[in-house]
Amino acid sequence: MEILTGNELTSGGTVYLDRSGAWVEDLQAARVFAKEEGAERDAALAATKGTGRVISLEIEEITLDQGLIVPKRLRERIRAAGPTAPLTLNGAIYDRQHLGEDGHVSI
């Protein structure tokens, strides 16, 4: 099983293609492409490239664990959750990047 991920153009934040064709922050909202859905996956990739608003597009392998999407690669799990290191020096939790008001992309 696969999902599509990338970085939103203005914020650089990690985004996932959801079931409605929107690119969203929430990994669990990602559309899961089954093996036989390669054509749909490639069409979605092409349509996204056409928008020019999501960059560094990747196809990522995932597993489902009790219904939850779990990327196979550690790199992708860190992309989804944000940096894993303990608190920053100014006491904030390392949070991932969030989309701004101009960061919403649909295909």
Binding site: R79, P83, T84, T88, N90
Partner: protein, 552 residues
């Protein structure tokens, strides 16, 4: 400090306006990502795992208070309230938004800074000894020549599309604090038989997947011909450096494959052509640039002394700071202060906006408005009166910047690793943090003494693991992280590349493995004066290997 002339100001303003336009055209959709990517990389703007990353050049690691305050302002307004100082003496911001980049670059230009040539296959920021112009052991201050190299290499039309990136480091002291033998070109101040000052030129050093120690290509190049000689090396590299394989494209591979004598012959042939031409550096121009780096107006403080032994009894933390974070100054009654960015549990090299402001204030008040960034990811106040050390320390304590651990086991170089970097295979910051917790006790750090641990999250070696006395390299194995340990690396004039000691360790086992190595060293050292690296050189790897993995 150097101040921009009209040419510097014009090219930075021109590039800032040009890139702002490119950003706006990208946001409007006029430029595609394929078109925009090389443009943003030329301006130091990367895309990392979670966000863009902007790398800002700090020429030869020198900053004024005004510039540091501007970096604090950028951290506060456009980023997340902190910045990350790097092994190239630069600073990186991890969370800027694309639309803010033009404003950030304008802010930078207002204090004579930019992000040009902090990425791409060009000549990058020239790095130097962080104690340049201050160190007691210095032959000459390398900064005037570093500035001249900056001017020569900035937007150099012939060297904008080299086979690969190109890094120059220089030191004016025989004690190499700039890792010059691990750069594409390393320059070390030298004095010839006639008593003239010039440069030893080392070529083909580097880290990454193929670590190489630089080779001496010329034992003395006088100042007036240095640019011509550098240009000759660059031309040979630009002509013959491999462009077919990214992993074999650095000059170290060219020197290694062709042999030093072949490269030397080619460089000398080129040098014979260009020597005495437009690149000849007139003494008058060298003097003009040198005047920017004239020593500050030191007061007569020759009577000032600090009794470290006494202070250590009265206030042990202050005593440790004096012991480790103070470097001898060429001017009596002054010292250089290393401000550690390696607190226990912190991310090495990070500083908050508030801390940057505090450091800027200290520099203004106590260090003639000067600051340095070290390649070991710390900051330096180069010219502090000994009589002011306590006042400086007290301010640093309040700002949580007073760790007296410079050069000790918790003063690690560490790359951003898989928590941030798109190239990394494994995390490095959490490993560094765990090691600092393991060795947090000051008494333990003192017992261990000088020991450099360097951590990289991938083979590209941004964390300089090859030249750590103990190096740690994170690799990916079966979808997880594994950490290889190397021993015996050294970035100084006694340059050596560390050797992998054995099979790698899971992350949670790394601090224990480091402790085993440290315990072995302490048990086997001849005295407390024999450092880890000295003991390793004497003993070889066998006792360390046996301690880690058992007898063969």
């Amino acid at each position: 400090m150097y101040r921009y002339d009209e040419f510097d100001a014009a090219f930075v303003a021109g590039r800032t306006a040009q890139f702002a336009d490119q950003v706006n055209r990208r946001l409007s959709g006029e430029l595609s990502e394929d078109q925009f990517r090389p443009l943003r990389l030329m301006n130091g703007l990367y895309l990392q795992l979670h966000a863009y990353m902007l790398r800002i050049a700090v020429p030869y690691g020198t900053l004024s208070s005004r510039q540091m305050r501007k970096l604090a302002h950028i951290a506060r307004v456009y980023d997340r309230g902190y910045g990350h100082f790097t092994t190239r003496q630069n600073i990186q911001f991890n969370w800027p938004r694309l639309k803010d980049i033009p404003a950030i670059l304008e802010e930078l230009a207002s204090v004579e800074m930019h992000a040009i040539q902090t990425s791409g296959n060009c000549i990058r920021n020239t790095t130097t000894d962080q104690f340049a112009g201050a160190a007691a052991d210095e032959i000459i201050d390398p900064r005037p020549v570093a500035e001249i190299i900056r001017q020569w290499s900035s937007l150099h039309p012939e060297f904008t599309y080299l086979p690969r990136k190109f890094k120059i480091a220089m030191t004016g002291s025989p004690n190499d604090r700039a890792a010059i033998r691990f750069h594409d070109i390393g320059l070390q101040a030298a004095v010839n038989g006639a008593g003239e000052t010039g440069w030893e030129v080392w070529v083909g050093g580097g880290l990454g997947r193929t670590p190489m120690i630089g080779k001496l290509i010329n034992s003395f190049v006088p100042n007036e011909h240095l640019l011509a000689y550098l240009e000759s090396i660059m031309r040979v590299y630009n002509r013959y450096g491999r462009r077919d394989n990214k992993y074999k494209a650095r000059i170290k591979i060219l020197v290694h494959e062709e042999g030093l004598e072949t490269i030397k012959g080619q460089v000398e042939a080129e040098f014979a052509e260009v020597r005495g031409g437009v690149l000849t550096l007139p003494q008058q121009e060298l003097d003009r640039i040198t005047a920017y780096f004239a020593p500050p107006a030191f007061a007569d403080r020759s009577g000032s002394k600090v009794d470290v032994a006494y202070e250590s009894i009265i206030d042990p933390a202050y005593g440790r700071w004096l012991d480790n974070n103070i470097n001898a100054h060429r001017e009596a009654g002054y010292a250089s202060v290393t401000i550690s960015l390696k607190p226990i549990g912190g991310a090495p090299g990070d500083a908050t906006d508030v801390q940057m402001d505090v450091v800027a204030d200290l520099a203004e008040r106590y260090s003639f408005d000067e600051l340095r960034v070290t390649h070991e990811q710390n900051l330096v106040l180069p010219h502090v009166a000994v009589a002011d050390l306590r006042a400086v320390y007290d301010v640093l304590v309040a700002a949580k910047l007073a760790d007296g651990n410079a050069g000790l086991i918790t003063d690690m170089i560490c790359c951003p690793g898989l928590d941030f970097c798109a190239l990394a295979n494994a995390r490095s910051i959490p490993i560094a943090q765990e090691i600092t917790h393991r060795f947090a006790a000051p008494e333990r750090q003192k017992e261990i003494g000088d020991l450099k641990i360097k951590i990289s999250g991938c083979i590209n070696a941004c964390g300089h693991h090859h030249v750590g006395h103990i190096g740690i390299l994170g690799v990916e194995k079966k979808g997880g992280e594994l950490y290889q340990i190397t021993l015996g690396g050294d970035a100084t004039e006694l340059a050596s590349v560390g050797k992998i000691i054995g099979p790698g360790f899971e992350a949670e086992a790394v601090p224990g493995a480091i402790e085993t190595l440290v315990d072995t060293y302490i048990a086997r050292r001849q005295s407390a004066d024999e450092t880890f690296i000295q003991a390793y050189r004497r003993l070889g790897e066998a006792p360390f290997k046996e301690a880690l993995y058992g007898a063969a």
